[in-house]
């Protein structure tokens, strides 16, 4: 007995099933819920609300699902609603990111590439103002803080705007080796000295201290800029408060460049790198 015949035998009132299965012969979707508020309203699915049926019917459905699952002729996937949304959405978004992924495919450590695929998906959802905190959290849970760093860098666009150009520039050199790129890439991913990502766990003092320590680090290496990223009202407010701090202000070479929206802020600050003392001596004999 096919799944369709089995369903109609158990649920005689489920007349829609035959039409749906006939119309969508390649992909047959059944939605099972256990309440009266079915969240999936698509036309091309067969909905079964367990609350509407007797224990005998539910028992029969249970057996039918197991039998269909064990039938070698059928490809069956059981998946929860929210995961199904992610799987469907991921397939669409990854297609949009294929150029970036293709560029990095043979250039990044294998695990970083896996994280980058996830991070690009998170970035795409974030740009649609969809909640992404739980996705980033699950990524960090599996891969550790490195996944958080890669997601931060990716969401802020640094893979396209900084890491890709870095590789392209380095690879022009006659002495280029892949390892020389990986060494620089490692510093970026582990420390991202050019950026501060403010998160909800940081206090205003944490934000200020992080910015000042990164300024100090960058000055040491002659880097004269730092970009501060914040998402969410609370983080915006923290960054604004720190930007008025006298200790920070005295480090700046000019007014910060601020780009902000209702829910995000990006602040680029320029500061004066430490000038070697002999240079000062030459300028001021």
């Amino acid at each position: 007995m096919s799944l369709l015949d089995g369903l109609i035998k158990i649920f005689p009132g489920l007349k829609k099933a035959r039409a749906v299965f006939k119309s969508f012969s390649d992909n047959k979707t059944i939605v099972i819920n256990n309440n009266n508020t079915n969240n999936i309203k698509a036309k091309n699915v067969v909905n079964i609300n367990l609350k509407e049926y007797s224990p005998e019917q539910i028992e029969s459905l249970s057996k039918l699902i197991k039998k269909t699952f064990n039938d070698d002729r059928e490809e069956v996937l059981l998946i929860d609603e929210k995961s199904e949304e992610i799987v469907t959405s991921f397939g669409q978004k990854e297609h949009q990111n294929k150029d970036t992924l293709e560029f990095f495919r043979d250039k990044l450590p294998k695990e970083d590439l896996i994280i980058l695929r996830a991070a690009l998906f998170i970035k795409a959802l974030h740009e649609e103002n969809k909640p992404v905190g739980h996705l980033k959290y699950s990524l960090v849970g599996r891969y550790g803080q490195r996944a958080g760093n890669i997601t931060n860098l990716c969401t802020a666009g640094y893979y396209e705007s900084l890491i890709k150009p870095l590789y392209e520039e380095l690879s022009q050199s006659d002495t280029f080796t892949h390892q020389s790129f990986l060494d620089k890439y490692e510093v970026i991913v582990a420390q991202y000295p050019f950026a501060v990502f403010v998160n909800h766990m940081m206090s205003v003092q944490d934000v200020k201290n992080t910015i000042l320590s990164k300024i100090e680090l960058n000055k040491k290496y002659g880097v004269k800029f730092l970009t501060i990223h914040g998402i969410g009202f609370e983080n915006l407010e923290k960054i604004k408060e720190v930007l008025n701090d006298n200790e920070l202000l005295k480090e700046l070479a000019q007014s910060p460049e601020i780009e902000s929206g209702q829910n995000f802020i990006t602040v680029r600050i320029l500061f004066v790198p430490i000038v070697p003392s002999n240079t000062l001596t030459n300028k001021n004999p």
């Binding site: 059944i30 069956v76 799987v87």
Partner: protein, 80 residues
């Protein structure tokens, strides 16, 4: 392909169909051997709140974290 999408409140029904239950710590276990926790194909135990589904290949349990779902996408794509 037959896709059976279940809402969270039907998870118990799905697990029951496959003769699984939940132990005291919230892990999915074999109903007839509650000391035996089910494993994902990465040999990870799986809690009910992490349960995303089951796919064929005997019974492959899927976790709901992003990395596991990307792996599922790849596996489905490889099967055409």
């Amino acid at each position: 392909m037959i896709k059976i999408i279940f809402e969270k409140d039907a998870s118990d029904f799905i697990l029951d169909s496959f003769e699984k239950s939940i132990d005291e710590e919230g892990y999915i276990v074999e109903k007839n051997d509650i000391g035996q926790r089910v494993l994902t194909n990465n040999a990870e135990e799986i809690k009910i709140e992490e349960f995303a589904g089951i796919r064929k290949g005997s019974e492959i349990f899927i976790k709901s974290d992003l990395s596991s779902l990307i792996q599922l996408c790849d596996d489905l794509a490889a099967r055409g």
